[in-house]
């Protein structure tokens, strides 16, 4: 027996030596030996979390599995997407309409998953359009953008779309202060201090998910950066970080860094609701697009709304307060209890942690340090829980676990620092590769963090992956936070630039995932709900082709009678009622698009032929063993031609006359 245990011991020592000896050098040496095991999801197994990651300048949102880091889907939101046909088909084009017209490409920064009682509920995910200010709602049954609401009186919708604990509101704070929409905007830029104003918007989300702007609050001309809603005891409040309290309009990198402290703006939105009810809000004439996608008509509509209610803090006491916060605060994060608000001054040497209880007391005691444009400024010391000393360089964002720990990202010192909320002591730090921006713990911004991991979303990639020329994929890094020390497990590349991300347990979403659209529910006005309903109709110079697609043919697949100068609308209905069987549609020479049509759905491609001839059509999504046979022809004749409209499938006799050359 002892012989055996001796042998085991020898083998064990050998194994340890072997593992140690194999440890690679360089940046990878931060990875522990069992990292692969912890992130390996065997074929056919599922990840534990969905991770919704902003696509930054790509304007999209991507969906990864955690801990594997596998990409499952890119959800098109604010940019056209050839992979989905989004923004190309006639049905989806209205989603990208704005008061400025069609905007094909925007910049999506932040993610907010819907919540009930401060816990992620898996109904919707929201994203912000940063450039042309908008908020989008994605339905997590279909993983599709179903609503986009433009924000008036805003420019650079960065402080958005943070959500309240019962999804009552998502907020949208303007990054740029500007002359507001109904003011005279033709003013010298250096009259900033007189003419430029900020706003924060409270967008109400009803039980169906539909958004509307409940009210806006007009603010001094600062820049709003990020925000978080209160939770638990601080439910009813939203905290907005802001910078440029100097009100600079040029060279902000110097001119907006003059003051020791900028602000976190505390908004009592329940008070604001009372003021709106009491008629204190001013109705202002503006114009903003409200776009909605309907899964029954399989079409989007875009309407321009004309009014918004604006509250001015001057007329609404006790609604807005400012807390001083060191050096251009960026992140502004509330802990799971709702008691602590963590400000992260980009240029600060400390992380200030504010106490909601102290804020309430300071307000009650009118413990003010004067005012800023008429808004009371709370005394810094009176609202401070404490400061994390020497935490790192360039703090940006903080997330939380369920055990009283906070995780803050540091851009300049390129690390994640773990610290305790109770005594504000740093307990661990790990490097990121390189220069982390946002970070995310599953459930980290909610009352119920799921913990397990923290993911760093890095800004700089450099040598982390095989080089691909000047442009590299952005990099994310997954760390195990189940122990006292954080452990790097995995690098994975992301789509566009990942700003914020939120992860949620897979089981909260996967069971609701929709497989098909029921054909009997299809109310698209151009749907052909069966081969017998297909037709080709001429209406003036428009030719409408009502086409069906099913493995492995189009009906009709031979169309004649189109003339040069016509606009041809291919309304293609996918008759399949089978999960994961989309069909594609393409016609040679189409200048704008192709289509991708989900089972039970109808989508439309508008095509303006540019020459006489016969043009192939075919299915672009490999659908079946006879996918390559899923094709047809459309004949385009001269403008004055007498070729009649004819259409067929499976008919081989020549029918129409041949045009004389």
């Amino acid at each position: 027996m002892s012989k055996l245990s001796k042998l085991i011991a020898i083998i064990a020592v050998g194994a340890v030596t072997f593992i140690t000896g194999c440890k690679p050098r360089g940046p990878q040496s931060a990875v522990t030996g069992d990292a692969a095991q912890k992130t390996y999801i065997a074929p056919g197994k599922y990840d534990e979390f969905y991770d919704f990651v902003s696509g930054g300048f790509s304007g999209q949102m991507s969906v990864y599995g955690l801990p594997s880091g596998r990409l499952f889907r890119v959800i098109p939101v604010f940019s056209v997407d050839p992979e989905k046909g989004y923004g190309f088909s006639e049905e989806t084009k209205p989603m990208l309409n704005t008061s400025h017209g069609f905007v094909p490409w925007d910049d999506l920064h932040h993610i907010a998953l819907s919540e009930t009682n401060g816990i992620q509920d898996g109904r919707w995910v929201f994203g912000n359009g940063n450039n042309t200010p908008r908020i989008a709602r994605i339905d997590l049954k279909t993983f599709r953008t179903v609503e986009i609401l433009e924000i008036p009186n805003s420019a650079g919708n960065h402080s958005s779309p943070f959500i309240t604990e019962n999804s009552e509101y998502v907020v949208a704070g303007t990054r740029f202060s500007v002359p507001l929409d109904n003011a005279n905007g033709d003013v010298p830029i250096n009259t900033y201090k007189q003419n430029f104003k900020g706003t924060v918007s409270f967008i109400h989300v009803d039980t169906s998910g539909r958004m509307n702007i409940a009210f806006q609050i007009q603010t001094p001309g600062v820049n709003f950066d990020l925000a978080r809603a209160g939770k638990g005891k601080s439910h009813g409040w939203v905290f907005f970080s802001c910078y440029n309290s100097e009100k600079a309009n040029t060279l902000l990198e110097v001119n907006a860094s003059q003051r020791d402290k900028d602000f976190i703006m505390c908004v009592n939105w329940k008070k604001a609701e009372e003021y709106v009810k009491a008629g204190k809000a001013e109705k202002r004439n503006v114009a903003y697009a409200h776009n909605e996608y309907n899964d029954i008509t399989h079409s989007a509509t875009s309407e321009i709304e004309k009014e918004v209610l604006v509250l001015d803090p001057k007329n609404c006491p006790d609604m807005v307060y400012l807390m001083p916060c060191p050096k251009s605060p960026h992140g502004c994060d509330t802990d799971p209890s709702g008691e602590y608000i963590v400000g992260s001054g980009k240029l600060a040497a400390v992380i200030p942690v504010f106490s909601f209880t102290k804020i309430q007391k300071a307000i009650a005691d009118k413990n003010y340090d004067g005012d800023y444009d008429g808004i009371p400024v709370l005394k810094y010391e009176s609202v401070l829980h404490g400061e994390v000393q020497k935490p790192g360089l360039g703090p940006l964002h903080t997330e939380f676990d369920a055990d009283g720990n906070a995780y803050t990202s540091f851009f300049i010192s390129s690390e994640i620092v773990k610290w305790r909320l109770s005594d504000l002591k740093v307990v661990d730090r790990v490097p990121t590769y390189y220069s982390v921006g946002h970070l995310s713990v599953p459930g980290g911004p909610t009352r119920k963090p799921w913990g397990k991991y923290v993911i760093a979303y890095n800004k700089i990639t450099k040598d982390r992956y095989l080089p691909t020329g000047p442009e590299l994929a952005q990099s994310a890094q997954l760390y195990d936070i189940s122990g006292e020390k954080m452990k790097l497990l995995l690098d994975f590349p992301t789509i566009g630039e990942p700003h914020y991300a939120e992860a949620i347990p897979a089981e909260l979403i996967m069971k609701n995932s929709q497989k098909i659209f029921r054909i009997e529910d299809n109310k698209n006005p151009f749907a052909a709900l069966g081969d017998s309903k297909t037709k080709v109709e001429r209406k003036g110079n428009e030719v409408h082709c009502y086409i069906t697609a099913i493995r492995s043919h189009f009906t009709p697949d031979n169309i004649e009678g189109v003339k040069l100068g016509d606009i041809v609308y291919f309304h293609v209905t996918n008759l399949e009622q089978d999960w994961d069987i989309p069909h594609g549609f393409a016609v040679k020479g189409a200048n704008n698009a192709e289509l991708l049509i989900m089972p039970g759905e109808t989508q439309t491609l508008a095509w303006k032929p540019d020459r006489i001839g016969v043009f192939p059509i075919y299915c672009t999504d490999f659908c079946s063993a006879l996918h390559q046979e899923m094709q047809g022809y459309i004949r385009v004749s001269a403008p004055g031609s007498n070729v009649p409209i004819t259409y067929s499938t499976g008919k081989t006799e020549p029918a129409g006359p041949v045009a004389a050359k």
Binding site: A42, P43, G44, K45, Y46, D47, E48, P505, A506, E507, M510, Q514, K515, I516, I550, R551, S552, E576, Q577, D578, W579, I581, P599, C623, S624, A625, L626, Q628, E629, G650, T652
Partner: protein, 188 residues
């Protein structure tokens, strides 16, 4: 004169079809923590889609023999593939009409290739609705042999030996129920 639609068994389709026999699909259908076996496409949990050919056959009490034979021939996952297929599905009674012992013999492991050949002779890779069938048609079947269609007195008869007695549309093709088992032509 009735129009004859020549249905050509496209070699590519056949190739794909055959190669799928050996493919182990790994569609996950378990919870996040549960391990998934190497179950094939027929095991995908999906109550929302229309039933596929396998689910139709499994759900029919008249086709228990066919289902058992498909399992023995490893063709269940194949018929859950996107297809599209037309399957001529002999009823239990049709199998009973075979000479005594024939089926038992075919179900033996060493006769698997013969069983596969016969079952694949009941499948073509195109979803053919009942009104596609015309008198005198030749249809190329998945096993590589042809089958002939005749129409007599409104009835569609295959190889003069099996009559279509009913049709069911599936998500991945058509099931035409037949009252006889089709036997591939004897190789010369």
């Amino acid at each position: 004169m009735k129009k004859i639609i020549q249905l050509i068994a496209i070699p590519i389709a056949i190739f794909l079809f055959v190669s799928c026999n050996n493919e182990k699909q790994t569609n996950a259908n378990t919870s996040a923590t549960e391990a998934n076996s190497d179950a094939g496409q027929a095991n995908v949990k999906d109550d929302a889609s229309m039933k596929d050919i396998v689910k139709i056959a499994v759900g029919s009490s008249d086709h228990t023999t066919l289902v058992a034979a498909l399992k023995q021939a490893d063709l269940v996952d194949v018929l859950a593939n996107p297809g599209p297929f037309t399957v001529f599905a002999p009823t239990n009674a049709a199998f009973d009409k075979l000479p005594k012992g024939t089926l038992d013999d075919l179900m033996k492991p060493e006769k698997k290739a013969d069983l596969q050949n016969i079952l694949q002779y009941h499948v073509t890779t195109s979803a053919l609705k009942i009104d596609y069938f015309k008198d005198g048609q030749t249809i190329g079947m998945v096993n590589g042999d042809n089958l002939t269609v005749s129409v007599k007195g409104g009835k569609i008869i295959l190889n003069n030996s099996a009559t279509i007695v009913g049709s069911v549309e599936g998500s991945n093709g058509m099931v035409h129920i037949i009252d006889g088992v089709l036997l591939p032509p004897v190789k010369k």
